[in-house]
């Protein structure tokens, strides 16, 4: 990966120019589809974009006890980390340099939830702290099966490059590992059965309770980018081959991402919000068992 390719990945294709409209389109599709499933008309597809513009045009309010600098830096860090993760997505096969390095990619994907937890504690609001605690607990209990599944795939493929993992993982490891990762996906996007950390009725949107105007706009931006990055990560890891033609690879990537949005919306509108204990129990019972099966299969495949 030379600097020109890296810059193009950061700013153009899986990066900003693609991810911003795609993130807003994904969130708009989710809201529209959920409204249609509930028998409503629903907001237009451009709604997330209009929300961000409106929030960015609002004036800050004076706050007494919480630190404005930290509350501003945390969403900026979340946005930056997610853009970095987007640039590393293995949409095109590339096995040189640090592009598609699994550890860096997963580390960058893990930063936004961490920022959100810190923002919840920095808000000095009881609801923010409660939401941050819930976010931390559910994030940890979803990360154990998520990482275990990734370790299984990396072991079976014998590489830490995401391109190699996507191509070389045998099916007996890939199927249980991908199922475990798919169960973790709505947790990481804070979608409905696992939306206890930012529940509106219970904890007043949790960690973001004190973020107003521009801060909330930044968080919405980070969330839109997170949609593209996380769904894109699952899609690129899941598709076992690339055609080699850049336009076909990009098109398959985008179409598969939108199909994942449809699946996630079906899940979110068909389920009610679970308690923290129920959610963590479900993650351990379903996702972790699948990840453990994948781990065992990976060690059997490796033969040691």
């Amino acid at each position: 990966m030379n600097p020109v390719h890296a810059l193009a990945a950061l700013l153009l294709f899986p990066g900003l120019l693609y991810a911003l409209p795609m993130g807003w389109l994904m969130m708009g599709t989710e809201r529209k589809l959920r409204a249609r499933f509930q028998g409503r008309i629903g907001p237009p597809l451009t709604q997330p974009f209009l929300d961000v513009v409106k929030l960015a045009s609002k004036w800050p309010v004076a706050r007494a006890s919480s630190d404005r600098l930290i509350l501003t830096l945390l969403p900026l860090l979340a946005v930056g980390a997610t853009i970095g993760a987007l640039a590393l997505l293995p949409v095109f096969p590339d096995q040189t340099g640090f592009s598609g390095d699994l550890i860096l990619l997963v580390g960058l994907l893990e930063l936004p939830p961490l920022c959100m937890v810190l923002a919840g504690y920095a808000s000095r609001s009881i609801y923010g702290e409660m939401g941050a605690t819930r976010e931390a607990i559910i994030d940890i209990s979803c990360n154990v099966p998520f990482f275990a599944a990734l370790v299984a795939m990396a072991t079976a493929a014998g590489s830490l490059q995401t391109t190699n993992i996507a191509f070389a993982t045998p099916w007996q490891v890939r199927v249980p590992a991908m199922l475990a990762i798919l169960i973790c996906l709505p947790v990481k996007l804070r979608l409905n059965p696992f939306s206890i950390s930012n529940a509106e009725q219970e904890v007043l949107t949790g960690p973001l309770v004190e973020s107003e105007g521009r801060l909330l706009a930044l968080w919405e931006l980070a969330h839109a980018l997170e949609w593209v990055a996380l769904i894109g990560f699952v899609v690129t890891i899941g598709i076992p081959g690339r055609s080699g033609a850049w336009w076909l690879d990009g098109l398959v990537f985008a179409v598969c991402s939108l199909a994942m949005v449809l699946l996630l919306t079906l899940l979110a509108s068909g389920t009610a919000r679970m308690k923290l204990r129920q959610a963590t129990r479900l993650l351990w019972r379903c996702s972790f068992v699948l990840a453990a099966i994948a781990l065992v299969a990976a060690f059997l495949v490796r033969g040691n």
């Binding site: 409204a35 237009p44 004036w59 800050p60 009725q201 973001l208 004190e210 105007g213």
Partner: protein, 156 residues
């Protein structure tokens, strides 16, 4: 911001199509609250105009108040009003915040609402019908869209 610039028009359009509501019950009998929440149901579906009911006053643009302001709710009302970021509009749902309704003259109420905070839109009725509430909120959003951009006493 220039009055005719592209950004001005974009912000105006965004404000008109994405209003976040915060609902405050200042001692209402729950009649107006039920009618207000029914605006979000599939039958009236205000989300198609981008209207969303928010849980935190920090996220909201439209402050929706129901009930005559009782003595215990006055201080929370003022605190919550101060927590909404500018520009904001206030909508009074029902007869109670507008006039005090049947509680007029009672020593237990501090209302009407406009003695405490500036009110932009009144929606009369006891309770008002959901369509009246939707119409009132639409009027409030038009007022919000043409709001002067720089408020007094704001922190940059």
């Amino acid at each position: 911001m220039k009055q005719y610039g592209f950004l001005y028009k974009l912000v105006e359009r965004a404000r008109e199509h994405s209003a976040f509501l915060f609902h405050f019950n200042a001692g209402a009998c729950n009649g107006c609250d039920i009618e207000f929440v029914s605006c979000l149901t599939p039958r009236y579906d205000v989300e198609q105009y981008g209207i969303k009911l928010e849980a935190s006053p920090r996220h909201a643009d439209v402050f929706v108040v129901s009930g005559p302001i009782t003595r215990t709710t006055r201080a929370p009302l003022e605190a919550v009003y101060a927590q909404l970021p500018d520009p904001k509009v206030v909508v009074a749902i029902g007869n109670c915040p507008a006039t005090g309704n049947v509680f007029w003259g009672s020593p237990m109420i501090e209302g009407p609402l406009d003695r405490i905070i500036p009110v932009d839109i009144y929606i009369p009725g006891c309770p008002p019908r959901p369509f009246a509430i939707v119409e009132g909120i639409a009027a409030a959003i038009h007022k919000l869209a043409s709001h002067p951009s720089a408020p007094s006493g704001a922190v940059r």
